[in-house]
């Protein structure tokens, strides 16, 4: 019996070891918590940062901003927090975990994602309320859904979606898979879809600009690296990368 227990214990240790740290010993690591909508651009900035700072390993944890805020509040070790909205950043600030003041580094606006070629002929926001349009939006609890509600009010149009999805990527996938005619997503999501959807802009999106704040956290293991990464994001180079992905400047 003790033999079996020993084998089990060894197996557990080996398995646990697999999940441990990789990379060269002595390397400096910076952990960044970034909103899911930043996946492509922060991936690019990470590479630039690692090239500029040899020996530094940047690890980015991409997730919904509210998940990231919950993780940070629960003590997840992270150096930088880039949120897709100010509400989630405010939570982290209120908990005293932000060093300094969060800075808005980009804005994002809604756009209508339609099936390529726009077969349902959607020209503006009001068309989304047409009964023949199968529309998918974000749930009001998430930032893109809150922005959708704001635009609805500003435009005086009441939408009747077939589904309120838990995040913006789920909305996009319902359109790329052809199951919805149209979905309300961010400009950057349309840009990242590589032609699998077409984007239709509308002036009412001006009423619901989403601001992205970034901040160094007090839990940063390497505060200097964290500050440098934030500087890169806000630098001219960083802003160029962000702009190319469809983000607006604050």
């Amino acid at each position: 019996m003790t033999k079996l227990a020993a084998v089990l214990a060894a197996a557990v240790l080996v398995l646990a070891g697999c999940g441990g740290a990789s990379g060269s010993p002595g390397a400096r690591t910076l952990t960044v918590s970034a909103a899911a909508s930043l996946t492509n651009v922060f991936g690019e900035l990470k590479q630039r940062f690692e090239t500029d700072n040899p020996g530094v390993d940047v690890r980015i944890n991409f997730a919904g901003s509210s998940d990231l805020a919950s993780q940070i509040l629960a003590g997840a070790p992270s150096g930088v927090f880039a949120s897709a909205n100010t509400a989630q950043m405010d939570k982290v600030v209120a908990a005293g975990l932000v060093a300094g003041v969060p800075q808005i580094f980009v804005t994002n606006r809604l756009q209508i994602a339609v099936v390529p070629g726009n077969p349902t002929n959607i020209q503006g926001f009001a068309d989304l309320a047409r009964p023949d349009v199968t529309l998918v939006v974000c749930a009001p609890q998430v930032p893109c859904g809150a922005a959708t509600e704001k635009v609805e009010q500003a435009a005086g149009v009441r939408l009747d979606p077939v589904s309120e999805e838990p995040n913006v990527r789920a909305v996009l996938s319902k359109v790329t898979s052809g199951n919805a005619d149209a979905g309300l997503v961010y400009v950057t999501d349309v840009a990242s879809a590589d032609g699998r959807v077409d984007g239709v802009g509308f002036p009412e999106s001006e009423n619901a600009l989403n601001s992205y704040p970034i901040a160094v956290l007090t839990t940063a293991a390497e505060p200097e690296l964290a500050r440098m990464f934030v500087e890169l994001v806000r630098s001219e180079d960083g802003q160029r990368v962000l702009k190319a992905a469809g983000f607006g400047t604050p």
Binding site: M1, G64, A139, Q141, P161, G178
Partner: protein, 277 residues
């Protein structure tokens, strides 16, 4: 199959000498129980019990609970009809090629539910090969309907029923059935009077597992059916959405789900497992 052996052992215990458990068994058993029970306890401790009644009786919560119970019940019936038949075929038929069928039936257990939902979407969605024909010939679109919720739940739950029932059928064997047949019972009578009572515990626990799995279904549902109050937003989907803005509310709703599940399993499972006594 474990259910059957448990029931058998229990009835045998009255006559035989009870065999004690090896004492060391309690340690890993305790660890196993703790791994499951402690996080649930964590949930209860974290819950805002004062605000609980308000959250649980909100319109959104009641609509989600009603939809969850309704869809899980229908899914369980579909599992019984189709999964039950499948289990009988797998356990009793000697047709060639069945060895290849079983791994396919078990796939939903391995597949991440959200992938299962995407698979359903690419098959039965508007652009899927089956979905396109449905729309063309019958004008039926499945995604974003309650039917899609039921299909997603049935997809992920069916293996539980098939595995339980097939195991029970194999454990029961064909001896009693053969005897009944040689004594002149028709196949229908054999099924009703011999096979069914023998496999009832396995069937019962399979049904409970399928219902519980349907009740907790999330990934396949969100991918295939979407989320809209009263139509497709089941309780797990509402929990996921509430968590974005109100973690306490999400925990309260989760506790509601836990209570429903515990009631289902605690009340139905022992009875089902022990059969009709």
């Amino acid at each position: 199959m474990t259910a059957v052996s448990t029931a058998k052992r229990r009835s045998a215990d009255r006559h035989a000498v009870a065999v004690g458990l090896p004492r060391w068994l309690w340690i890993p058993a305790g660890v196993g129980f703790g791994l499951i029970a402690l996080p649930v306890l964590g949930l209860v401790v974290r819950a805002d019990l004062a605000g609980l009644p308000e959250v649980v009786t909100s319109e959104a919560a009641l609509a989600a609970l009603e939809l969850s119970l309704r869809t899980a019940a229908i899914s369980t019936l579909l599992c019984l009809l189709f999964g039950g038949s499948l289990a009988v075929v797998l356990a009793r038929s000697t047709a060639r090629g069945l060895r290849l069928v079983r791994p396919v039936v078990l796939l939903p257990l391995v597949l991440p539910p959200v992938v299962g939902g995407l698979a359903l979407l690419y098959t039965l969605g508007r652009t899927g090969f089956a979905g396109r024909q449905l729309e063309l010939w019958f004008g039926i679109t499945i995604p974003f309907t309650t039917a899609a919720v039921v299909l997603a739940q049935t997809f992920v739950s069916m293996p539980f029923l098939v595995v339980s029932l097939e195991g029970a059928l194999r454990t029961a064997g064909e001896r009693y059935e053969s005897v009944a047949a040689t004594l002149g019972a028709s196949p229908g009578t054999v099924a009703r009077r011999v096979t069914l009572p023998l496999v009832l515990p396995g069937l019962g626990s399979g049904l409970v597992l399928a219902f519980a799995r349907s009740l907790g279904e999330f990934g396949a549902t969100i991918a295939f059916a979407g989320s809209l109050q009263g139509t497709t937003r089941t309780l797990p989907l509402l929990v996921y959405q509430e968590r974005e803005v109100d973690v306490d509310g999400a925990i309260a709703l989760s506790l509601m789900l836990v209570v429903v599940a515990v009631v289902v399993i605690a009340v139905a499972r022992p009875r089902a497992a022990e059969g009709l006594r």
